[in-house]
């Protein structure tokens, strides 16, 4: 247990911070933990002493003088706490907060709009056509201004290793700084209860070198490559309800209820980071979403396995 804590392993541990902001918050946490432990142990010691001296009245060494005892209560109950709390107020709420506050737009190089939806994340890059889902790509060591919106209920955007959380509240345009000191993939999860599948509403932040990011972004902005090979699957997609919820840019499918599938196969996972994005998982998902994510808004269309495989073979072309 302690080793888990200290090694700071775990994909969402605030202890394995990867940005100056989370670094400071975690530092704050260690200091508070240290102070709290001292206070707690002090109390335990006093109670232990009380147990050993249960036969004798008064304080050890200091005796029974009531005013002295009351003075100690004032010292430990008011004097020391006031000092500690005022210090904490200064450090946390006046200093550290400067790094966790919403960033000044002039100091950020990139803006990403993340919209929470039941139960997935829509990610778009203003100024480009790029729209994707549950996967935020950012250039490493770059200050990114994330605009956190919601399309339905309140969600909360939380990638513990990179930043503190921010709620996505209807009618509010909340902002938060996203910054990754090191390339990597950082998991995040919705932190505000948002309904049946709150548990399966996760996302990944992919921090990559600027060049890789730029090529990814241009790929995302482009429409789907038109492929004749999977035409049956394609026509199925358009004829069944699929097209009434999903968008595939460059085709007739233009609905924006569900995630944009233009570059579906470029994503690592499906269904809000619930299952990996392999043809087999994709088939299982299309065949019966409710079995994998009960309550999810994608209906069970009752497709035959041939229909499913045709759909999958088409979707596989969306790279």
């Amino acid at each position: 247990m302690a080793t888990v804590l200290l090694s700071g392993c775990g994909k969402q541990s605030i202890l394995s911070f990867k940005s100056p902001q989370t670094h400071q918050i975690t530092l704050l946490w260690w200091w508070m933990l240290a102070a709290a432990s001292i206070v707690f142990l002090g109390a335990v010691v006093m109670l232990t002493v009380a147990w050993f001296r249960r036969g004798t009245r008064g304080l050890p060494f200091l005796g029974e003088r009531e005013t002295l005892t009351e003075g100690l209560v004032v010292l430990f109950g008011m004097g020391i706490p006031v000092v500690a709390l005022v210090a904490l107020f200064g450090v946390a709420n006046l200093y550290v907060i400067k790094n966790s506050e919403a960033p000044d737009p002039r100091t950020t190089a990139l803006t990403v709009v993340v919209t929470g939806r039941q139960w997935w994340w829509e990610v778009s890059y203003p100024g480009t056509r790029a729209v994707t889902a549950n996967e935020i790509h950012i250039p490493v060591r770059t200050r990114v201004d994330v605009i956190a919106l919601t399309a339905d209920v309140i969600h909360s955007f939380w990638v513990p290793q990179l930043a503190r959380k921010i709620d996505m509240v209807p009618g509010r345009r909340n902002r938060i700084l996203l910054y990754a000191s090191r390339p990597g993939i950082y998991r995040g999860q919705c932190a505000e209860f948002c309904g049946l599948q709150h548990a399966n509403m996760a996302l990944e932040v992919v921090a990559e070198p600027a060049s890789a990011f730029r090529s990814w972004l241009s790929r995302m902005a482009a429409p789907a490559a038109s492929t004749a090979s999977a035409s049956t699957g394609k026509s199925l997609f358009m004829s069944l309800q699929c097209a009434s919820c999903h968008q595939i840019r460059g085709t007739a499918a233009q609905a924006t209820v569900g995630p944009d599938l233009t570059h579906l196969m470029s994503r690592r996972t499906l269904a809000g980071n619930t299952i990996p994005n392999t043809p087999a998982d994709l088939a299982a998902w299309i065949h019966n979403p409710q079995a994998i994510k009960p309550g999810a808004l994608m209906p069970d269309l009752g497709l035959s396995s041939t229909q499913v495989s045709e759909l999958v073979s088409y979707l596989e072309t969306l790279r």
């Binding site: 006046l94 907060i97 966790s100 506050e101």
Partner: protein
């Protein structure tokens, strides 16, 4: 000065005593509500309907609150010394007891008011936390 039993029951003493107990907390409540209302009014308005001098107001209100709090503190200190060493029989016991209550209560209220008054000017206007 020392208070005798009659003075202790007098309306004047009673009012002073309860001001000594409730003054600081009331002042804090004022500062608190004003500060929150100002912040919401200025920072959560969708269209720029108004520009409020939030920083100036926050400090000003905190100053007023501080004055009230200190006044209440003074009162309870005076009563505390005026009734020191009495036995616990009413009214003097009760008066002394309430003066002690006033001392600590006002101390706490004043502490918060100071943190507010010092903290807000050091905070950017409408920086989303």
């Amino acid at each position: 000065m020392k208070l005798d039993r009659v003075q202790m029951r007098s309306t004047r003493t009673t009012l002073l005593l309860w001001f000594g107990v409730g003054g600081g907390p009331a002042a804090w409540a004022l500062v608190h509500v004003m500060g929150y209302a100002m912040g919401i009014a200025q920072c959560d308005q969708p269209a720029g309907r108004w520009q409020l001098p939030v920083h100036a107001w926050d400090v000003g209100v905190a100053a007023v609150g501080l004055v009230i709090g200190l006044a209440a503190m003074t009162v309870s200190v005076r009563i505390y010394f005026a009734t020191r060493g009495v036995d616990n029989a009413p009214p003097q016991g009760r008066v002394h007891f309430l003066s002690v209550v006033g001392l600590v209560v006002n101390f706490l209220a004043i502490m918060i008011i100071i943190l507010d008054g010092v903290g807000t000017p050091l905070t950017g206007l409408c920086h989303q936390s």
